[in-house]
Each structure stands twice: as structure tokens, then as C-alpha cells.
């Protein structure tokens, strides 16, 4: 093992705007120093966020991290105890939900049980006094958009979870909101349907060009659907960035851990294995197993350790290697060197795949 003198740049801490969305695109929603405290509980604490127009924005975090409260603040169901929320240039302090140009898809869909599908969808238009014929026509049009035309006269109770969600979506979109808020939109669906709805939501958003803000605790969902993701923890936003930023370049231990499982290389461990000193995150799939005696490559670190566990997962194997007082998690492809529990194995990764984190 030899020490490489490679300079690895720490990621800038202000990676707020993803390459795909220029900072110049108009701001849809902005939160400035927004807090929502329930007595001693700081559900949302000094959050700054900017969502751009036409963006598919994900709010990711464990339960109780404040992401749903944040969504409810934008919707107007909660009022901030401090800070400002601006929706398309308008400060919304004290503006009730029914006068905001945002609509919400609720986690439990919240379809009105005493109305059939088409009346549910037409509800917003009915409130605005649109005539019966016209609102039915628009509702049916909207139901066509979410591919539910044949269910117009059903009762919500007769629909499956996925169908109910489409109705909720149509009901929110018929009001032509400037921002659509989705609270755990796929949480109640089974895996297959979830994957299908991910694709559909994404294409619907592209088609309509409406800003979507959605809340999820599922990192896979957040990464695959969002243009940008805000990661929440304990009422605060800990990192905002593109899915690639969040996954490849986590800034804190929490993000590295929560968004996919990451190896966290402590400074003391780095010293022992001859890696540049610092606090680093390293994704399991970036580590390769190499045969013994393979010549060193430039800018790589190679370590040797005993294989502790191997878990077969189809396309990959998860395995844990005990290296110099720490454990390294690896995701090794089905081809190549096969890890055997109890034997020694050699693991190698590129220095570029180590990402520096803040010391928190």
C-alpha cells in the first residue's frame, strides 16, 4: 500500500442550485428563516429553501424531520412562528389555504366519501361557481389525463389505492395550481404500482409544467423523481442539491447515512489505511474486490480485511469487511472476485470516490 499525494477538493457547502436548473429561472416558492415551533418542539427550525418554477422538488427525511410540516406551511394549514414564505412573489403570511395558488395531494388522498369521482374532481370548480355542465366537462377531461375515464361515476370506496390517488391528483390539478404539493404521494401503494406512478407523475409534471413539491421518506423515490432534493433532519434542512449531489457528495454524516448507506471513514481510520486525512463518505458500490497481488493503480486505496458477512441480493452481494478496527460495507457485482466469509479479501477504491464531509 502506498500513499498517494492527491488533492481531493472538499465539495462547496453552497451547492444550492443544480446544473439542470439555472439560478435565473423564476422562484416558485421560497422559505426564508421559517420556523414552526409547537411549544418546545421545533418541528421546523430556521429553514431556508428556494424552489424554482417548473421544478420537481423533493423533501426527504425520516419521520418527524419536519418535511411534512414544511409542506403544510406552504399549503397554509400551519402558520410559521417565524420567517417568511413567498409563493410566486406573494408573501403568504396569514393567507388562508383557500386563497393560495397551491393545491395538495394528501397522503390518505382525502377524497370526499359522499361524492362520486367526477364530483370529487369538480369540487374546486363548484366552489368557484363554475356551472354544472362546464365543470363536469373539465373534470372528465382531467380524469382522462390521469387515465381514469371509465371510473367517472364510481364512488371513492369502490376504487383501488392507485385509482384513488389518481382522483386526488386530478382533483388538485383541475384548479390549475401554480404549485402542486404532494404528501408522501406513493407511500400507500405497493412496490409495482409505486414504480409505475413515479414515471407517470414525472411525465405529468413535464406535460403540465407545474412546479411539484413532494414529501417522502423513501430515498429511492426522492432520488429518482426529483430535479432537486432537500434533506431534512430534526426540523432543519441539512443539504439541498441534485440527486447526484445528494447521493455522491453527502455533506454530513446524516445525509451519507440516510440517503443510501454509506461508509463513513473517520480521520483516525484514514490514517491507519494511508488515505488522506479527513472525514469522508464512501459508497459501498464504489469499492471493488481485487485479486491478491494485483498491481497498484494510480490514485487508489487498497485495503485487506476479513470477510464478516455476505448477503446475496441478486444482482449484487452485500458484504462486510473488517479492516483495521473498522467495518467497510461493499456492494460487489455478481461477477469478479467472490467474497467468502472468514477469508481475507482485498478491497480497492478510487480516491475520487471519497467525498469530504463537514465534521458533524
Amino acid at each position: 500500500m502506498q500513499q498517494k499525494t492527491v488533492f481531493i477538493s472538499m465539495p462547496e457547502t453552497t451547492r444550492q442550485v443544480s446544473p439542470s436548473r439555472e439560478a435565473s429561472s423564476p422562484v416558485a416558492v421560497s422559505l426564508a428563516g421559517v420556523s414552526r415551533h409547537f411549544d418546545a418542539v421545533k418541528a421546523v427550525d430556521k429553514v431556508d429553501l428556494t424552489v424554482h418554477e417548473g421544478e420537481f422538488f423533493g423533501m426527504l427525511g425520516p419521520s418527524g424531520s419536519g418535511k411534512t410540516t414544511c409542506l403544510r406551511l406552504v399549503a397554509g394549514f400551519e402558520q410559521p412562528t417565524a420567517g417568511n414564505i413567498i409563493i410566486f412573489g406573494e408573501r403568504v403570511d396569514g393567507v388562508p389555504p383557500y386563497r393560495r395558488s397551491v393545491n395538495t395531494v394528501f397522503q390518505d388522498y382525502a377524497l370526499f366519501p359522499h361524492m362520486n369521482v367526477v364530483d370529487n374532481v369538480a369540487y374546486g370548480l363548484m366552489i368557484r361557481g363554475v356551472g354544472k355542465k362546464e365543470r363536469r366537462r373539465q373534470a372528465e377531461e382531467m380524469l382522462e389525463l390521469v387515465r381514469l375515464s371509465e371510473f367517472v361515476h364510481r364512488e371513492p370506496g369502490q376504487l383501488s389505492g392507485g385509482q384513488r390517488q389518481r382522483v386526488a391528483l386530478a382533483r388538485a390539478l383541475i384548479n390549475r395550481p401554480k404549485v402542486l404539493l404532494l404528501d408522501e404521494p406513493l407511500g400507500a401503494l405497493d412496490l409495482k404500482l409505486r414504480e409505475q406512478m413515479q414515471v407517470e407523475l414525472k411525465s405529468l409534471q413535464r406535460e403540465l409544467g407545474i412546479t411539484f413539491v413532494f414529501v417522502t421518506h423513501d430515498q429511492g423515490e426522492a432520488l429518482s423523481m426529483s430535479d432537486r432534493v432537500a434533506v431534512f433532519n430534526e426540523g432543519r434542512v441539512v443539504q439541498v442539491g441534485s440527486p447526484v449531489d445528494i447521493y455522491e457528495r453527502p455533506e454530513t454524516r446524516f445525509v451519507a447515512d440516510f440517503v443510501g448507506s454509506s461508509n463513513i471513514l473517520e480521520p483516525a481510520f484514514c490514517e491507519r489505511i494511508g488515505a488522506p486525512s479527513g472525514l469522508w463518505s464512501l459508497r459501498p458500490e464504489k469499492i471493488r474486490l481485487v485479486p491478491e497481488g494485483l498491481t497498484d493503480e494510480a490514485d487508489t486505496i487498497t485495503v485487506t480485511g476479513e470477510v464478516r458477512h455476505v448477503q446475496y441480493q441478486g444482482a449484487t452481494r452485500r458484504c462486510v469487511l473488517a479492516v483495521k478496527g473498522a467495518e467497510l460495507a461493499l456492494a460487489v457485482p455478481a461477477v469478479g472476485v467472490e467474497p467468502v466469509v472468514g477469508r481475507m479479501a482485498h478491497a480497492r477504491w478510487h480516491l475520487d470516490d471519497m467525498h469530504g464531509m463537514k465534521h458533524v
Binding site: 383557500y98 395538495t104 397522503q107 370526499f112 366519501p113 366552489i127
Partner: protein, 270 residues
């Protein structure tokens, strides 16, 4: 011991049948004596059968007066109960405040209290406040327990109604009043109707609280009570009893049908 479906021991079956007969045979006798030709005493079996008591009852103005009074009181007490019970239920089910559980208990208390206690309490309260006993004191007395049934029905429905329904309505542009009118009320409607019918039935045949809160007014049940001591035209009382049973039983039956299977109405539609 047998465990198949029809396998209740014979003695248990007999006991059950005896129990049911004990409960309902007197009721059958009331119906039977509405048709007897003997008007002074209850002979068994009745010496003969006639329908004439129905026409006699129809002609009697005092029965009509009592009937109309009972009807008015039941309607007004029920109306008041629906308004007050719904408001109380909304407060208890939708908000959290200090003493909420205690308040809930206090609302339900009148139905657990013996009617005599409620009656005496109200009577002395009216006395102290120098409120003369009248039609309205009877309505007030009845409202105390009518509120309870409406409240119970409404609170159960509200607890099963997802709070996000109301938020969804606000979110879709409806203000609080429109939300109440288009979402909350339709969801509560059957519960309120059921509660209202039960309240009506309770009020219509109430005797105890009425005796304490009435002045000179005679409601139908009170009229029946006073009629029992009179030896003449006894079957007329039975005829009235038959109608009271029908008038109170139908609303209760309807209330049962309104609330049956309402989980699918008020819940999230699962």
C-alpha cells in the same frame, strides 16, 4: 358438549325463549287489550274483540291535545339537541383544550343520571330562578338527554372522519362555511338524522323528567299515566299505547338503519 352451530344446550335455548317471552309478553297483552270488549277491568282471555276503541280514541279531544303537545315538545327538543349536540361534538372531536374529557363526561351525564334526579334538579333550579313551569320547561328538561344522543352519534362520526377531508376542502378553495356546508354536514348528516330520531323517540315517551318540569301541561305519556287510575274506557289507553309504541319504535328502527355500515361512509373509503 357439542360445538356445532345449532349446538346450544336445550336448557339454554329454553331459558333464552323464556327470557324473551318475559320481556315481550306484557307488550303483547297491551296490544291485545286494545281490542277487548270489556272496558272496566283486564280479563283474560278477553270476552270479545272490537275495533270500536280506535274510533273512540280518535274522537277524544284530550288525546289529541296531549298528542300534539308531545309532538311539539319532541320536535323542538330534538331541534335544539341537534344544534347543541353538533356544536359540542365538533368542539370535543376537533380541538384539544383543558378539561375536554371532563366536558365530554358532563355532556353524557344526563343520560346516565336517573330521571328522578334530573327531574328534581331541574324542578328546584326552575323554582330558584322563579321560572314558571310551562311548555318551555318541559322542552328544556327533554333537551338535557336529547343532546346526549345527538352528541354521541356526531362525535363518533367526527372521530371516524379524516381531518384531511376538511383540509382538502380548504385547499381546493372552499372557505370554512363552504367546507361546513359541502363536506362536514353531508358527512354528518346520517349521524345527525339517527341521533335526532333517537332523541325524538326518547322525548316522545318520556314520563319522569316531564312530571317534574311540567305545569298544567299533559303530554301523551302523562295522559296515559293519569288514565290508568280511571276505571272507564280502559282500552282507549291501550290504543294510545299502541300508537306510542309505533311512533317511538319507527324512528329507532330508522336510526339503526342510518348508522348501520356507516364506517364506509365516514372513513377513508377503504
Amino acid at each position: 358438549m357439542r360445538f356445532n352451530r345449532s349446538g346450544a344446550p336445550r336448557r339454554l335455548k329454553l331459558a333464552a325463549i323464556a327470557g324473551l317471552l318475559f320481556l315481550h309478553l306484557p307488550l303483547v297483552l297491551i296490544f291485545l287489550y286494545a281490542f277487548t270488549t270489556e272496558e272496566k277491568s283486564y280479563q283474560f282471555p278477553p270476552p270479545g274483540y272490537t275495533l270500536k276503541w280506535f274510533s273512540v280514541a280518535w274522537e277524544r279531544q284530550d288525546i289529541w291535545d296531549a298528542f300534539m303537545l308531545s309532538l311539539k315538545i319532541a320536535c323542538i327538543a330534538t331541534g335544539a339537541a341537534i344544534v347543541l349536540g353538533t356544536l359540542a361534538a365538533a368542539a370535543v372531536a376537533r380541538t384539544r383544550f383543558f378539561g375536554r374529557e371532563a366536558l365530554s363526561l358532563l355532556i353524557i351525564l344526563p343520560i346516565a343520571l336517573p330521571g328522578v334526579v334530573t327531574g328534581i334538579a331541574l324542578r328546584s333550579a326552575f323554582d330558584i330562578a322563579s321560572i314558571p313551569f310551562s311548555f318551555w320547561t318541559i322542552v328544556l328538561g327533554h333537551a338535557t338527554f336529547c343532546v346526549v344522543v345527538v352528541y354521541n352519534n356526531a362525535v363518533a362520526r367526527l372521530r371516524r372522519t379524516s381531518p384531511s377531508l376538511l383540509e382538502a376542502s380548504l385547499d381546493l378553495g372552499a372557505n370554512s362555511f363552504q367546507t361546513f356546508r359541502h363536506v362536514l354536514l353531508p358527512n354528518l348528516a346520517t349521524a345527525l338524522l339517527a341521533g335526532g330520531m333517537l332523541a325524538f323517540a326518547l322525548s316522545f315517551d318520556e314520563v319522569i323528567v316531564t312530571t317534574f318540569t311540567a305545569g298544567q301541561q299533559e303530554t301523551l305519556p302523562i295522559w296515559m299515566l293519569s288514565e290508568l287510575v280511571r276505571p272507564r274506557q280502559r282500552p282507549v289507553t291501550n290504543v294510545v299505547a299502541v300508537f306510542v309504541v309505533i311512533i317511538t319504535f319507527l324512528p329507532i328502527l330508522m336510526a339503526y338503519y342510518f348508522t348501520r355500515g356507516s364506517e364506509t361512509i365516514a372513513g377513508q373509503g377503504k
